[in-house]
Symmetry: C2
Subunit: 344 residues, 2 copies
């Protein structure tokens, strides 16, 4: 199905990369235009762009910008400059696997090219970008097939166009499902960063999809009221047994969904699957600074008040109804894990 994309985290145009500054949403829609790799590294570091797939694409374009800036036909000194900037990009964010995957791909391509590499490098970055969109569109249709006539959908955090090359993972499924027929869309505000309030409902409105924001702690009452049929989320990392690490609060929703007979769909490309990791127990959970939600006046030396701020939680496969990827859907992943999706 042909899809018009209205929300773009990253736009390549006139040999420049435009990055939507997500820190300013929803109040201000502002694209910052970059022509060098160090500028893009800084944009990644400072969270102007976030979301694992989007970070990979931004890094790919940044390598293309680096080659474009430094390439010289008459000597090979430029290769060292590009290599230095790839290292800079690799140091911008530590955890998003997609970033390193994209840098590796761009570097391998560059080593094969001799004459006039600029066009080819830009083409590869664009291909990485387009393949991500294609995967999202595919998952959107697969997910919408599974949802059938479900009326109430709840999502958490932002697994949308803003976190990917376009269209989104969880929000891609919601887009495709809504296009087939209107549904009630609910979004958790998602503390402490409020990705739901700042990004998800804004992004849906750009595609003319109405949504209702709720406090994270109101999800249980909403499920009890019978207004939610499916919870649809993205993933940061999926273990071989189908356990899913995702934004803090996903595990909470999964337990509540099981209790209320609500189904849970995880939507993520196969690049998110860590086939070498047997279960979610081994996934290290990043802890962020207490200052993300602790009032500043508590931050003094002898303060009795601290905060516990894990970024992710792990949802056991047993609480997941289906995992949707671009290679197909795995129902009841607790039965056999997700190994069947491994094409290696």
């Amino acid at each position: 199905m042909e899809q018009k994309l209205n929300v773009h985290a990253l736009v390549w145009q006139d040999q420049k990369l435009s990055v939507l500054d997500q820190r300013k949403l929803p109040e201000i829609v502002h694209y910052q235009v970059y022509v060098t790799a160090p500028e893009v590294a800084e944009a990644i570091k400072t969270m102007q762009v976030r979301g694992a797939p989007a970070l990979g694409i931004a890094a790919a374009y940044a390598v293309a910008l680096s080659v474009q800036q430094h390439y010289q036909a008459d000597n090979s000194a430029w290769r060292q400059q590009v290599a230095t900037e790839i290292k800079l990009l690799a140091a911008s964010r530590p955890t998003a696997v997609n970033l390193f995957w994209a840098l590796d791909m761009m570097q391998a391509k560059l080593e094969q090219l001799n004459d006039s590499p600029v066009t080819a490098m830009i083409a590869l970055a664009q291909e990485i970008h387009q393949q991500d969109i294609a995967a999202n569109l595919k998952m959107g249709e697969l997910g919408a097939d599974i949802l059938a006539d479900a009326q109430g959908l709840l999502t958490h955090c932002n697994a949308g166009a803003l976190a990917t090359g376009g269209y989104g993972t969880a929000l891609g499924v919601i887009r495709s499902a809504y296009q087939r027929q209107a549904r009630r869309i609910y979004a958790d505000e998602t503390r402490p960063w409020l990705q739901g309030a700042r990004l998800t409902v804004w992004e849906l409105a750009q595609d003319n999809i109405p949504s209702t924001l709720i406090a994270d702690s109101a999800a249980a009452m909403l499920m009890k009221s019978g207004q939610v049929d499916w919870i649809i989320v993205g993933a940061d990392r999926i273990a071989a047994n189908g356990d899913v690490a995702n934004k803090i609060g996903t595990y909470s929703l999964a337990v509540l969904a099981k209790y209320h007979g609500v189904k849970l769909m995880v939507v993520a490309p196969t690049s998110t699957i860590d086939f070498a990791r047997q279960s979610g127990d081994a996934i290290a959970i990043e802890q962020r600074a207490a200052s993300e939600f602790l009032p500043a006046c508590y931050a003094h030396e002898d303060s009795l008040i601290t905060a516990w701020n894990p970024v992710f939680d792990v949802t056991p496969a047993a609480l997941i109804s289906v995992i949707v990827t671009e290679r197909g859907a795995v129902f009841n992943p607790a039965e056999k894990g997700v190994g069947e999706l491994n094409d290696e």
Copy 2:
């Protein structure tokens, strides 16, 4: 056990009522001093003081202030002025039962008094205040007995000294338990108003009790980690069958607690029990304005973005381990309800 109270929402001193402005916490500790009833009505209306028991006590003192201001020995015109101000106080907040209960009590007393009613009215307001503190101290000891050596306690919203005459209901139990031995105390930040972040951890720190703030959606992961033995909350209304209406998110915690084998204690004076109400299904849930957490830029005429903002949820008795009142504790309230606590 003798308790020193360090946190006071309301202080009666030198014929004046000092009200701690809770809207300014935790950054600013500021008491506003009032000498007339209309000032106190305004303080209630504008949320300088909140929490059902605290509202009742504030209203009682306000009636005493009214009599103090208007009483004249030589004619009875002052009685009309006081009656008008009682009506004004009754119109300040619609839902808190304690407010009307306190006004009725003060009015009944006033009708019995002829000569020099000022001292007697002040004495009754102080008695209402002291009885609330006594009930909280009693519940604190009863609750601490039940907790025994439990190591990890999680609370939601603020059911503390700030919401009562002093010491608190849920936080009273936590105070008493902590006094017997150190425990890990966790507080949900409690969206959208952040009573946990702004009030609860601040209040505990005033009593030298360390605490850890968490995002509401991190409670499930905390329970899974084994760090929480009991969840301890207050109540806004308890039905005869033991169903409990309390701050939004309480029901969510109750379901998560059941799943993880964590126990749930509700702490509230018997004045919170609505013996005439058979179950929690009949409790009307107040909806507040979307603007409490919806970014202002979404609030335009053709906006596709709305919010669902219920203030309370209802926790079925079956999910509650024990209800603690000043007349005793009811374990497994789902078995027989709380009718045994009715002394009428």
